[in-house]
């Protein structure tokens, strides 16, 4: 049972995808009207953020089969770049965010270049080390990054609704990107690289180019998510935004929902993030580690029982159209 075999499950087809998009827009569009309390709005924002991050990871890890365990590097790099530029140079927040995303992209180009040579577990290790390097740099360069206490970001608007709308736009944007990639030639190239790199190469696919592009798109999306998080939460700490826990949480969300599927990330985000935020909200931040324990256990169970994720269930509920 190899992972790539597992991920060929549950490919979405055109009709159900259209319904899916429509459903997502209607449901999430109406929710702020229903959820009067800003607490519920916060949960929905986090769900949408994680759906975005997980979609981004899905492009590289799920479709292209390059198993990054350091996506926090892109997330944090963009958030920190934005924060530092705003604090040191008084840059316009949106411009700073844009630079942050660009930095994430540059980092991804580096990582993409490294994936040309590294395969399998070595690629995972390299991404893991990258996130750790950035975390330690952020921890010890206190003058610039604020050290372990983190960096405060004073974003001009603090209205929950505008953040909500932005998160929704972000999530839909990421779904559209994944949708386009999935049905494009590039997407098929990605999947070919995942299934069998040598065969893909033999078929004339420039596998190096495919991998770099997948890493770039994925990191840019993650970077946007990171900048959004920095603006929304207002404080970024090295252990949170560069933490191993974040990288893993993104992967868990994807795996639980179903890697290599369009709908998986959203499903996974709802299953993982909602209970997580409730635990934090009801029991307080001190109990956050309990939710960490739960999602660690969840990952183990899902991998053992249903490695293709829950997205594959939906595949049976919504019958696939063959094209």
């Amino acid at each position: 049972m190899s992972y790539s075999e597992v991920m060929t499950f549950g490919r979405q087809r055109a009709r159900s995808v259209q319904f899916f998009f429509l459903g997502v827009i209607i449901v999430f569009g109406l929710l702020p009207a229903l959820a009067a309390s800003s607490w519920y709005m916060h949960i929905m924002i986090m769900v949408m953020l994680y759906a975005t991050l997980s979609s981004a990871w899905n492009l590289l890890g799920g479709y292209c089969g390059q198993f990054s365990v350091g996506h926090a590097a892109f997330f944090g790099a963009s958030g920190y770049t934005m924060g530092i530029l705003m604090a040191q140079l008084n840059l316009n927040p949106f411009l700073a965010a844009l630079v942050g995303v660009a930095v994430s992209g540059a980092l991804a180009a580096l990582v993409g270049w490294s994936c040309l040579r590294l395969t399998g577990i070595f690629f995972s290790l390299a991404t893991f080390a990258l996130a750790e390097i950035l975390r330690k740099l952020a921890l010890f360069q206190e003058k610039i990054t604020g050290g372990p206490l983190g960096l405060t970001i004073a974003f001009p608007t603090q209205s929950k609704l505008s953040f909500y709308i932005f998160a929704l736009a972000l999530m839909i944007c990421s779904f559209v990107v994944v949708f386009i990639v999935e049905r494009s030639k590039f997407g098929y190239y990605c999947q070919a690289v995942r299934e069998n790199e040598d065969a893909a190469k033999a078929a004339g696919i420039s596998t190096n180019k495919v991998k770099v592009w997948a890493a770039l798109i994925s990191a840019a999306l993650t970077g946007i998510g990171g900048a959004f998080y920095a603006a929304y939460i207002g404080v970024i700490e090295p252990d949170v935004v560069f933490g191993f826990n974040l990288s893993i949480k993104i992967i868990i969300v994807t795996i639980i929902g179903g890697a290599g599927t369009l709908i998986g990330p959203l499903l996974g985000a709802i299953i993982v993030v909602v209970p997580d935020e409730f635990i934090r909200g009801w029991l307080g931040g001190a109990y956050a580690s309990w939710s960490g324990m739960i999602y660690g256990a969840m990952l183990v169970v899902i991998i053992l029982v249903r490695p293709n994720g829950l997205g594959a269930f939906l595949h049976f509920i919504i019958p696939a159209k063959r094209d």
Binding site: F67, L125, E132, F244, S289, A297, L299
Partner: protein, 285 residues
């Protein structure tokens, strides 16, 4: 830069290297012999360190504490070992392995945080030191160093001189051929895994002599073990033994002259090493 300073740092580095060697060789044993890239290794080490801390309240004698730690860790190792044996050992090195061991790692890390909180814990013992002329030697680390070396020597003798050790090496070399001559490869793997975790518990005990432990401790030791492992060659135990001293000395110099850049520099070196010599390192010992 004067001579005594350099020698002092050099000795400190070698002592640190000796301590790393126990952890890294043990890790490399898991990777090379059992074909398990165990992401939960660091977390298990951290949990064992916490157990040493928790048991230190009882003020038991040295060996009793060690025995209790090993005993208390048994269920945890049993679970990890069972999962790995059932789903991972001797399968291909693929992503399921990473995910499974990472899930376990996250679980253990958060468990430790839930029980003991996020701030660092120590045994509170003062480190002993002495001066040889102008050269400072940390005696606590020297003791740990000697014990590590004895343990590694014992492990080496076990692998080369005993029947079971030979079985393990036979399974590593060719598990089908080993099966033909009557070695139960799976059983050997399980016992080897158990032995490796006993070494880990002892390693944790030694580390607690002068280290503090917090939930993230495991991650840095894991990365260190990876670094030493790739530098010395994966599956090559003697290589990683030598590499741990190289890393120990580099680590001592970097943390003296560029404090704060210690991990970034070493981890960048790690990335560079795997870039220069990628998957080829996955050869047999």
């Amino acid at each position: 830069m004067d001579f005594t300073l350099v020698v002092t740092i050099l000795i400190a580095g070698l002592l640190t290297g000796g301590m790393y060697s126990l952890i890294a060789v043990n890790f490399n044993f898991q990777v090379g012999a059992l074909r398990v890239v165990n992401f939960s290794y660091g977390a298990s080490l951290m949990l064992a360190m916490y157990l040493v801390f928790a048991l230190s309240v009882l003020k038991l004698p040295f060996l009793a504490t060690l025995g209790l730690v090993i005993l208390l860790l048994l269920p945890c190792y049993f679970l990890v070992g069972w999962l790995l044996r059932r789903y991972v050992v001797f399968t291909e090195l693929d992503d399921i392995q990473i995910l499974l061991t990472m899930g376990i790692a996250i679980f253990i890390e958060n468990l430790a945080q839930a029980i003991w909180g996020a701030f660092p814990r120590t045994l509170g013992a003062m480190e002993k030191g002495m001066f040889l002329g102008d050269i400072y030697i940390n005696v606590t680390r020297l003791e740990v160093f000697v014990v590590s070396l004895i343990l590694l020597a014992a492990g080496y003798l076990f692998l080369t001189r005993t029947w079971f050790g030979r079985c393990i090496r036979a399974v590593v070399q060719d598990k089908d051929m080993a099966a033909v001559v009557g070695v139960n490869a799976r059983r050997v793997a399980v016992v080897a895994f158990g032995i490796s975790y006993c070494f880990l518990a002892i390693g944790a005990f030694l580390l607690m002599m002068f280290y503090s432990v917090e939930p993230h401790t495991g991650g840095s030791f894991l990365t260190m073990a990876f670094l030493i492992c790739v530098l010395g060659g994966i599956g090559n135990l003697a290589g990683s033994f030598a590499a741990s001293f190289v890393i120990g000395v580099i680590s001592a110099f970097v943390s003296f002259f560029l404090p704060g850049y210690h991990d970034p520099i070493l981890f960048s070196a790690f990335i560079l090493i795997i870039l220069i010599r990628p998957s080829g390192l996955f050869g047999e010992a």
